[in-house]
Symmetry: C2
Subunit: 784 residues, 2 copies
């Protein structure tokens, strides 16, 4: 299905989770789906995070080290809640609207992947028996990234009602915090300081504009808000009453602006006002509305910041509002639908399976959220939680290169290119990071960052995860293989790849004829500071080889510009050839690292369910000391390095599968892909089914802190790179589709070197059709 | 020499360092040697730490973790500055006395190991030409541990002078802090909250008593202060003028109370007063003193706390003062000298060497400071910095068992016994610590603590240093071997030893026929989280064997009481027999751990001097990744486990010596001992000479934060366990004395099973004479 829809639960944890799930975002800004009116009237202190975020916009906060060893990071960037723009309090004949008081006759939420809108629909009865249909739509415009809308429509059904609406715009906000969860900020700090609240006339209404600057990072942002009111005298019994039927699409906005509607300023009976405080403004409206008349208040919100819009950012936000108001909401809706039409044209996936279609829907939900999450300019990347929450503080990880870029590379290569360009823009910061870690040459990308500087507070499972370098260099390789974009390789890619190769040479050393890399942490964060992590070494080998290849491909001039000579390239090749890839002769499997297999094993099934995830129940030393894995590590190397399946891979897979808890959301998708590589389509399908709905099912219990972008990208990869076996090779795209039991089939589209292709797999076989352009596509049909 | 003495330097860093060096303490309380009048009049903001500490008395402060992983310690105990009792401001004819104003004609400090007193002597001339001899003595009474004295004597030399003295007693104090040094508290917190300031009449003067409680630990302390004034009408031109001659002892207090002296209350011309504030009191005195008359103001200070003195602690402090005043200062001085006479009777050391006697003096200084530092009751142990400063926040480490107990065991076995009893008293806390680390049985002593709970903020080089368990069990073994104290073994020792053996069994496991211990950190903190640290495993093996032996020795009843059966003992024996002790076949040396020798070596001589200690200049990852050692690790195992010298030991010694920076003050003494074991007396002597004066020379640059007790104990060990080769064996004490080039000889006394013996070594040979009692002593004369 092209949307998700569900009845509204008022259970506190569900409310918090739904704030993330139904977030609207456009890669630049994101707004969590709290109720406009809040949760007052419910049980005490229902937690809520009424966040508005801008990608790449951060403040800096202290991160005290318990013991401040030399070189440890003691400050970090954090995504900031910019302002509360979503407050809209409604009174009907004096009674405040709340989902917790009066009577809810029906309610649902819906997020539509075709129109790119979110809507909350409620039929609410006041204590005095007045019934109101309330429909609140939201949109973050893909076409106009500074613009959001809240489209608030009220229709009294059985009597005239006096409505009073107070729409807030508040700059005095804080970030969420939880001192007990290592994945969240542990204390609340005032990051945004309001500098100015301005009221400006606009048509027949008022714009409020709040300018605020960050406490420490030197960034500034303006949020601006304006309202337009429409009335529909002949409102028909529309969407809301159909909630219980649950059949038609509700948010078909293109048709909701009827001829009957007119801006309300024509009517004398609206009393509107705008008051300010030192940190915000409240726009208020009072109007009598007769039965079966819809009143519609559209709140336009604009966000502009210093990073993107320069010193004129405040005026920029006001201008954006004028432009949006002039065009009106329907033009924005139309542009949104058009944008998404193009998106789905290149991205369409369909899964047919003997089930209720949940996986198909979850896959599309994930794709839509990824589109919402990915930065479109050089200041932004993809945060672990997208723009839907503050978990991991808005930081960018290796997730981008290993779990997110593959999706964009195949569907929106321009976005992928921008994500790599972000790494290029932060290459100097990565060089500085390498120097701080004692490396004389090369660059080391930070484990977590917004602006390119390391934000990892616990270097043992942070900075020490040098494999992020492997991910970045591999991303350049994959992008180049998929696009053949030599210009980008020349301009940016080669320099990244060379600096990473230099780092590998600096951190490693030859010993006993093998190239060793000591003291790093692989993907599995339950095993830290090890020697010769198989995954890391395998990636380093791949990076070194690609560095040589890229240098050879581009030739002498570019190498000279980057100060690289044949001696250095020879060194890369020699290190790659001598790379130590631990292998255990007894078990005949690859060892995760030099010492892993000599530790006592710990079968995760022996651990009671309530002690998962282990990281919340065991001291790191206990975890480090056992053969227990948080996530795919060695197994992941098989996929990333494109190894040929063999008995060693099969034995290793079985071995690590038994000791992997999948406590990381980055794990199951990799086990799915490698199961497919090993020919086990059923297992691949089962892992995919298990993980694709992680957020929709809140199966990790922390979607409240934001959705899991890497798992979303990983689920896509499990289908396309796993079941369909897609790989980039010199000869073109290679596919090797498999179909699990219980699946009727699946299809997806992808872009390769400018061409658009569609893969269809069903019980009859598989096909790949080039829809636009031309491309070399090799089908290795193996419908085992 | 039996004292240290030096001219007073007014250089800021020297002042801070001397505050530590000349601290007076008695195992219970310690007072840093700041100037009574402070450093005002000097250059701006001379740093000072006017600390008064009580051993084992702590507050609790938060220790935020940058990333709060499960089980990480987030609060810690800290030693607290109890009050400022040392303030005494003097005005002479209206001019405030300061070492930075007027004219200093002569000055020195002196700490006397025979009288147990510290004295500052100054000849000071006011701007108007009045010359005063000022002598300020201090003592912390060993005989009456709650009592300290400041003995302030002023003698105008050339004219009558009007003196005004304000003596402070202030409860509003804080601890020192330095956010940039990992070895210090990083921020200042108010730990002591004054509850009450009371003034009480006492004889013809006034006692001020401040009761204060800690902010969070629930402890309370009372400090009480009273003054007595004496006058000597016929004061002769005494000590101070002899400063320049530097020949006679100055602090010969037993003779300074002459017949001419009388308490000043007999004189009418003293105006005395005492005022209070909400947090303290000031005692003031005004008197005219004629030329060549000494006025002497003795400030008695008493400290009692809730831990030791129960709820009547405040009255206790007042009672202590009454008692001290009644006896008078001379009785306290006499008791102090008598106490030290007994101490030196059992501890006397003499080193004769072709030098200025600096080593001989430093050795005795160290012994005296150790006596000042060691706790005498069950609440206290020996802090890394004794009672001389706040470095390492007053925490107790493995230093106690490995570096300090050996000295006390040989000279004051009762103190040693108490230090082990402290570990017994905190055995339950150690059990809890083991559970928190995921161990199902056994006890794990905390890496750093005051009250028995772990205070390590960076577990990687803290809690993970399981070898502290090895040190504690080994201490029980050594104590038992040296004393034959079966009662103590029954009551306390066996239980400690068994719980530690159980922990080794729990953390380790059999693999490939060997007993492995994974994920620990050995003594060398530049190499962390390793598998099979040689030192740790060797100690574990020793512990396991001693557990079996102790259980066998004491027999079934005690084993049953502790729930230990033969199966468990068999398990201990098997694990010990199978213990993995890494050995490198190529180098034919013991490997520090499983992976150490495969890392790239880093010769510390290749690192510029200004980059030492490395921990202040390199990221831990850089250190962990190289073959570079902070301190003795494998080498130390040779001594602790009493291994027989052989070629492997010699090769290992040479190998590790080349890569050890000695950035820890615990290192050189161990290299000294093992050099002696290997027959290289010259090297042993050189290491000893290099390290014995570490604090007196401030060679680590941080004596300002407190003296280094472990280095002091280690220096003693280098002489007695190293050069003299003393070991406890079943057959008795074995000695194997060696004499380095350039040494004429050395002698020392020690206690063994109730007997007192004296060893003398010189160019003619070596001898051991039993002075008191009888003991089996075996001389393995090897005066190579």
């Amino acid at each position: 299905m092209d949307h998700i829809e569900k009845p509204i639960s008022l259970e506190p944890q569900a409310l918090l989770c739904d704030e993330s799930l139904f977030c609207v975002a456009n890669g630049y800004i994101g707004l969590r789906a709290a109720f406009e009116e809040g949760y007052s009237g419910g049980s005490n202190n229902i937690p809520t995070v009424r966040g508005l975020y801008a990608n790449g916009f951060y403040d800096i906060i202290d991160m005290k080290q318990a013991e401040p060893l030399h070189g440890l990071v003691d400050r970090k960037q954090t995504i900031v809640n910019l302002a509360d723009v979503q407050g809209m309090d409604l009174w009907a004949d004096g009674q405040p609207f709340s989902m917790f008081t009066g009577k809810i006759m029906a309610s649902k939420r819906r997020l539509d992947f075709v129109t790119g809108t979110y809507e909350r629909q409620v039929i609410w009865q006041t204590d005095s028996g007045c019934t109101l249909e309330i429909s609140i739509g939201r949109m973050a415009s893909f076409a106009h990234p500074s613009i959001m809308m809240i489209d608030y429509r009220i229709t009294p059904r059985n009597q005239e009602v006096k409505l009073h609406l107070r729409s807030g715009h508040e700059g005095d906000v804080r970030n969420m915090s939880d001192p007990n969860d290592p994945r969240l900020a542990s204390h609340s700090v005032r990051n945004m300081l309001v500098e100015k609240v301005a009221l400006l006339p606009a048509e027949e209404t008022t714009i409020s504009c709040i300018t605020a600057k960050t406490a420490r990072s030197g960034l500034s942002v303006a949020t601006a808000v304006v309202h337009k009111i429409y009335e529909d005298k002949k409102a028909e019994l529309r969407d809301a009453v159909r909630i219980s039927e649950d059949e038609n699409r509700i948010c078909d906005h293109e048709s909701t602006m009827s001829d009957h509607e007119a801006t309300l300023s024509a009517y004398k009976d609206v009393i509107s006002d705008c008051e300010t405080t030192s940190t915000g403004a409240v726009h208020s409206f009072t109007i009598k509305v007769s039965a079966n008349t819809s009143i519609r208040i559209v709140k336009f919100i604009a966000v502009c910041d210093l990073l993107r819009h320069g010193t004129g950012f405040a005026q920029g936000a006001v201008d954006e509002l004028h432009h949006a108001m002039a065009g009106g909401p329907e033009r924005l809706y139309a542009a949104q639908t058009a944008y998404l039409k193009r998106f789905w044209h290149h991205s369409a996936v369909e899964i047919k399976r003997d089930d209720d279609g949940a996986i198909d829907t979850a896959m599309r939900y994930n794709q839509f959220i990824l589109l919402q999450s990915a930065g479109r300019d050089i200041h932004a990347n993809v945060a672990a939680k997208g723009l839907s929450g503050e978990g991991y503080e808005g930081h960018y990880f290796w997730d981008t290169e290993m779990y997110l870029q593959p999706f964009f590379l195949l569907t929106q290569p321009e976005i992928c290119k921008n994500l790599i360009a972000f790494r290029y823009a932060t290459l100097d910061a990565a060089r500085n990071n390498a120097r701080a870690l004692g490396h004389k040459s090369g660059a080391l990308y930070p484990w977590r960052t917004i602006n390119g500087e390391e934000c990892s507070g616990y270097f043992v499972s942070g900075t020490a995860a040098y494999h992020i370098n492997g991910a970045v260099a591999n991303a350049v390789e994959q992008y180049w293989l998929a696009t053949g974009d030599d210009d980008f390789l020349m301009d940016k890619g080669l320099e990244i790849v060379l600096e990473i190769a230099r780092l590998w040479l600096d951190v490693g050393h030859l010993s006993g004829g093998e190239f060793h890399i000591h003291g790093v942490t692989g993907p599995d964060e339950y095993t830290c500071l090890v020697d010769n992590n198989y995954y890391t070494n395998a990636l380093a080998q791949k990076n070194l080889r690609f560095a040589v290849r890229a240098a050879d491909h581009l030739g002498g001039e570019h190498c000279r510009r980057l100060g690289i000579g044949t001696d250095e390239l020879t060194g890369f090749a020699q290190a790659a050839a001598a790379m130590r890839l631990p292998f255990d002769r007894n078990l005949e499997i690859h060892a995760q690292d030099d010492s892993f297999l000599s530790k006592p094993p710990w079968t995760h099934t022996a651990i009671p369910p309530e002690q998962h995830p282990l990281l919340l129940h065991y001291h790191p030393l206990t975890l480090y000391r056992h053969q227990i894995c948080k996530q795919a590590d060695t197994v992941m190397a098989y996929y990333v390095c494109g190894m040929e399946p063999d008995d060693t891979m099969a034995r290793s897979y079985a071995y690590y599968e038994r000791i992997t808890t999948h406590d990381s959301s980055l794990s199951r998708c990799m086990f799915s892909i490698v199961a497919a590589m090993l020919g086990d389509a059923d297992k691949a399908g089962a892992y995919l089914a298990d993980t694709v709905g992680l957020d929709l099912n809140d199966s990790h219990g922390n979607t409240k802190d934001g959705i899991h972008t890497a798992n979303m990208g990983g689920s896509y990869m499990a289908l396309v790179y796993g079941l369909a076996g897609l790989r980039f090779r010199d000869e073109g795209v290679v596919l090797c589709p498999r179909l699990p039991e219980g699946w009727q089939g699946y299809s997806f589209r992808f872009v390769y070197r400018g061409a658009l292709a569609e893969v269809k797999v069903d019980r009859q076989g598989s096909s790949c059709r080039v829809l636009e352009g031309s491309a070399n596509i090799v089908m290795e049909g193996s419908n085992r």
